[in-house]
C-alpha cells in the first residue's frame, strides 16, 4: 500500500476532500497502478518549476478522471476523449497558463483519436501525458487500442487477434510523423532507472510548454495490475518483457532546440471602437434616408422575385434593391434561393419592400418578377399577381410572357451590358429598368447605396453606368408609347 499515498508534494492537496471514499488520505488507485507514480512525478515537477498557480489539469474519463482529488491546481474534468479540445479552449483563454491533458489509451487513442491528432497537428502549446496501460482500467479491463496481440481482456477473451481487432497502436511513432509536435518520447514506469527517465521526460515536456515552444506528448507505459490480473511485481515485469517489445522506448521527436518560442499574450477584454471594428455603419446613412418618390405605381408593398442563372448576379441585384429600399425608408427583407430551389445552376431571391412590418419574407405571389433566363420565366410567370409586372432580359429570353393580365417590360440587358464592356453588369441594367418603370426607389438613392453592396470600389462607376442605361432604356419605351 505504500504507493497509495502520494506523499507531501506541495502540488497535492493535504487531504483529498473531494474524494468519494471514506479515507481521504489515500488515493483511489489500485496497489501497483502506474497512475499514482506518474501523478507524483508530475506534481514534483510542477513544484520544482514553481508553476502550480498557473497550472490547469484536464482529466477526461478513465481511472484518472479523479486526478482533481489530488492535484492542487485548476482542475477541469471533461468528457471521454475530449481533453485535447477542452485544453485547446482553456489555453486560448489563458495562453500564459500551463495546461496538461492527462489521458488514458482508450481515451486518447480510441474515442478521442481525432481530438488529440488535431491538437497535435495544430501544435497547441500544451503537455499531454498519455498513460498506455494496454487496457481499459476504469471499466473493468476491456481491450484498448494498445492492447497487445494475444493479450486477453474481457472483450478479447481469446486474446487480441490482428485479424479481428487490428494491431496495437503506436501513438508515439504515429504522432512523430506530424510536423507540429515539438517533443514526443515513450517511457516506462518500471525499475528506478526507467522511472528516472519518466521523471526527466515529464520535466522536459512541461518545460517545453513553459518556454512556449509548442506541443509535447509523453507516452508512459504503465502498469494496471487489476486489469491485467497480475501482481504488482508481475505487472512491471510484463511491461519490460512484453510491452516494450511492441512499444520501444525512446525519444521519437525532439525539436526543442530548434523551435522559436511563440509569444503567449494574455487575453485582455476590450470593447473599444467595436462598432467600427464590426463594420457597423456609424451615422452616414441616417442623412441618406430619403423617401422614395411618391409616384410609385407598385403600391405600398412590393413583393419581388428575381431569378436567372447562377453567375448572373441575381442575388446581388436583390441585395442592391433591398439596400436601396432600406435607404429609401422602406421595411425590407431579402431571402436567397435556398434549399429545394438551389438546383441546376439557377438562382433566385425574394425581396420585400414595404411601408408596413413585413410578414412572410418568402414571396409566393410576386407583384414584380425580374427574370434573366427562360427557365425562370417559365417557372415563375404563373405566380405573378394580376396587375403585376414582369421585367425580362430579351437578350436571353426570346419569347414574350404569355400573361395578358400583367405588364411586361423586355430589355436587352445583357447586350447593353456587353456594350458597356462587361456582361456581368446586366443585373444592374435590369435594376435601372425596374426603378424607371415603377418609380419604387429614386435613382439617387440607388446610387447612394451602391458602395454598400458593390464591395469592389473600382466597379462602382461601371455599375452606376449600367443602372443609368437601364433607366434610359425604360424611359425611351415610355416616351415612344
Amino acid at each position: 500500500m505504500s504507493d497509495k499515498k502520494l506523499g507531501k508534494a506541495g502540488c497535492f492537496y493535504d487531504i483529498y476532500e473531494r474524494s468519494a471514499t471514506a479515507n481521504k488520505d489515500v488515493t483511489h488507485y489500485c496497489p501497483g497502478c502506474g497512475h499514482g507514480v506518474l501523478h507524483k512525478l508530475i506534481a514534483e515537477a510542477i513544484d520544482d518549476f514553481g508553476i502550480r498557480e498557473k497550472t490547469i489539469l484536464i482529466s477526461p474519463v478513465g481511472c484518472s478522471v479523479f486526478a482533481y482529488y489530488y492535484f492542487r491546481v485548476g482542475n477541469i474534468q471533461c468528457a471521454h476523449g475530449r481533453a485535447p479540445a477542452v485544453a485547446t479552449g482553456i489555453k486560448r483563454v489563458y495562453p500564459q497558463s500551463i495546461v496538461i491533458s492527462y489521458q488514458g489509451d482508450g481515451d486518447l487513442a480510441a474515442i478521442g483519436g481525432n481530438n488529440i491528432l488535431q491538437a497535435a497537428n495544430r501544435g497547441e502549446n500544451i503537455t499531454v501525458f498519455f498513460v498506455n496501460n494496454a487496457i481499459y482500467g476504469m471499466t473493468g479491463g476491456q481491450m484498448a487500442p494498445t492492447t497487445l496481440i494475444g493479450q486477453k481482456t474481457t472483450t478479447t477473451p481469446r486474446g487480441r487477434s490482428q485479424i479481428n481487432e487490428g494491431y496495437p497502436m503506436k501513438i508515439a511513432e504515429l504522432f512523430s510523423a506530424l510536423e507540429a509536435p515539438v517533443y514526443i518520447e515513450r517511457v516506462a514506469l518500471t525499475d528506478p532507472k526507467n522511472t528516472n527517465k519518466v521523471r526527466r521526460a515529464v520535466r522536459k515536456a512541461l518545460k517545453t510548454q513553459m518556454e512556449n515552444k509548442g506541443f509535447s506528448l509523453v507516452e508512459v507505459l504503465s502498469a494496471c495490475p487489476s486489469g491485467w490480473k497480475m501482481s504488482s511485481v508481475q505487472a512491471k515485469e510484463w511491461i519490460d518483457e512484453a510491452m516494450v517489445k511492441h512499444f520501444p522506448l525512446g525519444v521519437f521527436k525532439d525539436r526543442t532546440e530548434e523551435v522559436q518560442p511563440s509569444e503567449a499574450k494574455r487575453h485582455v477584454f476590450n470593447a473599444d471602437d467595436l462598432h467600427k471594428k464590426l463594420d457597423i455603419p456609424q451615422n452616414i446613412q441616417a442623412s441618406r434616408e430619403i423617401r422614395r418618390t411618391a409616384s410609385s405605381n407598385i403600391g405600398q408593398n412590393a413583393r419581388i422575385i428575381i431569378a436567372g442563372f447562377g453567375g448572373q448576379g441575381i442575388l446581388l441585384l436583390g441585395v442592391g434593391l433591398a439596400q436601396a429600399g432600406m435607404q429609401a425608408g422602406y421595411q425590407v427583407s431579402w431571402i436567397p434561393s435556398y434549399g429545394p430551389e438551389m438546383r441546376g445552376g439557377t438562382a433566385n431571391c425574394h425581396v420585400n419592400l414595404s411601408d408596413k412590418r413585413i410578414g412572410s419574407p418568402i414571396v409566393s405571389k410576386p407583384d414584380v418578377l425580374i427574370v434573366m433566363n427562360l427557365p425562370s420565366l417559365d417557372k415563375f410567370e404563373d405566380c405573378v399577381q394580376a396587375g403585376g409586372l414582369i421585367v425580362y432580359d430579351t437578350s436571353l429570353i426570346k419569347k414574350s410572357p404569355r400573361r395578358m393580365d400583367v405588364s411586361a417590360l423586355g430589355i436587352p440587358a445583357t447586350e447593353i451590358a456587353d456594350e458597356l464592356g462587361n456582361a456581368r453588369v446586366a443585373n444592374m441594367v435590369m435594376l435601372g429598368a425596374l426603378i424607371a418603370e415603377t418609380s419604387i426607389i429614386d435613382k439617387e438613392v440607388v446610387f447612394d447605396a451602391l458602395p454598400d453592396f458593390i464591395k469592389r470600389k473600382n466597379l462602382i462607376s461601371l455599375n452606376k453606368q449600367a443602372i443609368e442605361k437601364g433607366i434610359e432604356f425604360a424611359d425611351s419605351l415610355v416616351s415612344v408609347a
Binding site: I335, I358, G359
Partner: protein, 349 residues
C-alpha cells in the same frame, strides 16, 4: 443609429461580439456556415479567438474549455452538427457552464438537406443529450432578433450558469434585413467559480462527475431549482391580434412571419384570427397559452416539422380546446395562403 442590411447569420456574430463574446469554435455546415465565416473575420479584429475545430464534438468541447475559464464563448452549427454536440452540451449543463450554442436548423433526418426545417425542437428544447437538464432556448424570427436574442442568450447563460441556445431555421439565418446594432457590453462581471490560472484555482473545479448518488441527486435538485426559477422569469412571447381572436395560430421562427401575413389576410376577410409566437421555446409560454385557452375556441400550431412544438401547446391547453396542427417538412415552407385555407377549413368544420 443607422440600420445595416445584413444576413441573420452575420447579425449573430456581431451581436455576440457586442455581448462580449470573444471565443468562437465551430465547424462548417450549411446553412450555418456564415456564422463561422463572420466569426473568423471579426473575432480577431475584436481581440478574440476564432478556431475551426476538427468536428462539432471538438468545437463544443473547446467551448467547454473556454467557458471553464470564465469568458463568454460560443459555437454554431446546424442540425446534424448539433446531434454531434449533444454529449458536450450535456456536460456543459452538468458542469454548469454558461455558453451559447446557435442552431440554424435544416432538413432531416440523417443528412436530409440544407433547406429550412424546425425539426431540432425536440433535441434542443427537450434535451438531446443525456441527463436531467434544460437549455434556455430562444427563437428569433428576424435578422434584428438574431442579434438581440444572441446578446440575450449570453446574459441568460451567465445568469443561470447554463448553456443558452438560439434556435433558428435556415431562412432566418439566410435572410437579410436591416438591423440596428446596440452599444457593446463594455465590461463583463468576473466569475469567481471559473478557472483563472491564478493562486485560487486550487479551490476551483469544473466537473460534472459525482459518484455519490445522494450528492448527485442534490446536484440535480439544484439544477431543477434553477430551471424552476427560469420558468418563472424567462418566458418570452409576442402576440398579434390575439385579444379578440377566436382562433390562435401558434408558430415560431420563420413560420411566425408567415403567420403574421396569414393573420392579416384572414382579418381582411373578417375572420377573428390571432397569433401567439413563443420567443422562449424553453421556458415555453405555457401559462399564457393556458390563459388563452379560456377565451379562444381553438388553436392551430404550424411547424416545419412532424409536430414537436405542438406537443407543448397541447400540454399547455391540456384538453380545454382543440389544438389543430399544420406542417410542412423537408424544406417545404407553407405560404400564407396555404395557412389561410387551412384555417378556413377548421373554422367551417
Amino acid at each position: 443609429m443607422p440600420r445595416q442590411l445584413i444576413k441573420g447569420n452575420e447579425a449573430v456574430v456581431k451581436g455576440a461580439i457586442l455581448a462580449g463574446c470573444r471565443f468562437f469554435f465551430g465547424y462548417p455546415i450549411t446553412p450555418a456556415s456564415e456564422i463561422a465565416e463572420a466569426a473568423a473575420y471579426y473575432m480577431p479584429l475584436a481581440g478574440g479567438t476564432f478556431l475551426q475545430a476538427e468536428s462539432e464534438i471538438a468545437s463544443i468541447n473547446m467551448v467547454y474549455g473556454a467557458a471553464s475559464g470564465g469568458v463568454r464563448a460560443m459555437t454554431a452549427s446546424s442540425s446534424p452538427g448539433i446531434s454531434l454536440k449533444q454529449e458536450g452540451i450535456s456536460y456543459c449543463a452538468g458542469s454548469e457552464l454558461p455558453l451559447v450554442v446557435i442552431d440554424i436548423m435544416r432538413g432531416g433526418p440523417g443528412l436530409g438537406n440544407i433547406a429550412p426545417e424546425q425539426s431540432d425542437y425536440n433535441q434542443m428544447v427537450k434535451g438531446g443529450g443525456h441527463g436531467n437538464y434544460k437549455l434556455l432556448v430562444l427563437a428569433p424570427n428576424s435578422a434584428q432578433e438574431m442579434c438581440d436574442l444572441t446578446m440575450l442568450a449570453f446574459e441568460l447563460a451567465d445568469m443561470y450558469q447554463n448553456p443558452a441556445v438560439v434556435l433558428a431555421d435556415g431562412f432566418v439565418g439566410q435572410m437579410m434585413e436591416p438591423v440596428k446594432f446596440p452599444q457593446p457590453v463594455k465590461k463583463l462581471e468576473d466569475k469567481p467559480w471559473a478557472i483563472h490560472a491564478d493562486k485560487d484555482d486550487e479551490f476551483r473545479l469544473i466537473s460534472s462527475i459525482q459518484l455519490e448518488p445522494e450528492i448527485l441527486e442534490q446536484h440535480n435538485r439544484h439544477l431543477q431549482a434553477k430551471y424552476a426559477r427560469a420558468e418563472q422569469q424567462e418566458v418570452r412571447f409576442e402576440e398579434y391580434q390575439a385579444e379578440d381572436a377566436e382562433l390562435i395560430l401558434v408558430g415560431y421562427g420563420v413560420v411566425s412571419r408567415i403567420l403574421y401575413s396569414a393573420v392579416d389576410n384572414l382579418r381582411a376577410e373578417g375572420l377573428q384570427v390571432g397569433l401567439h409566437r413563443p420567443i422562449s421555446l424553453w421556458p415555453f409560454p405555457k401559462r399564457r397559452i393556458a390563459q388563452l385557452a379560456e377565451t379562444v375556441d381553438a388553436f392551430l400550431a404550424v411547424e416545419l416539422s412532424n409536430g414537436q412544438m405542438v406537443d407543448d401547446v397541447r400540454l399547455a391547453v391540456n384538453g380545454a380546446r382543440p389544438v389543430h396542427f399544420y406542417n410542412r417538412m423537408g424544406g417545404m415552407v407553407p405560404s400564407p395562403e396555404e395557412i389561410s385555407d387551412h384555417v378556413k377549413k377548421i373554422l367551417k368544420a
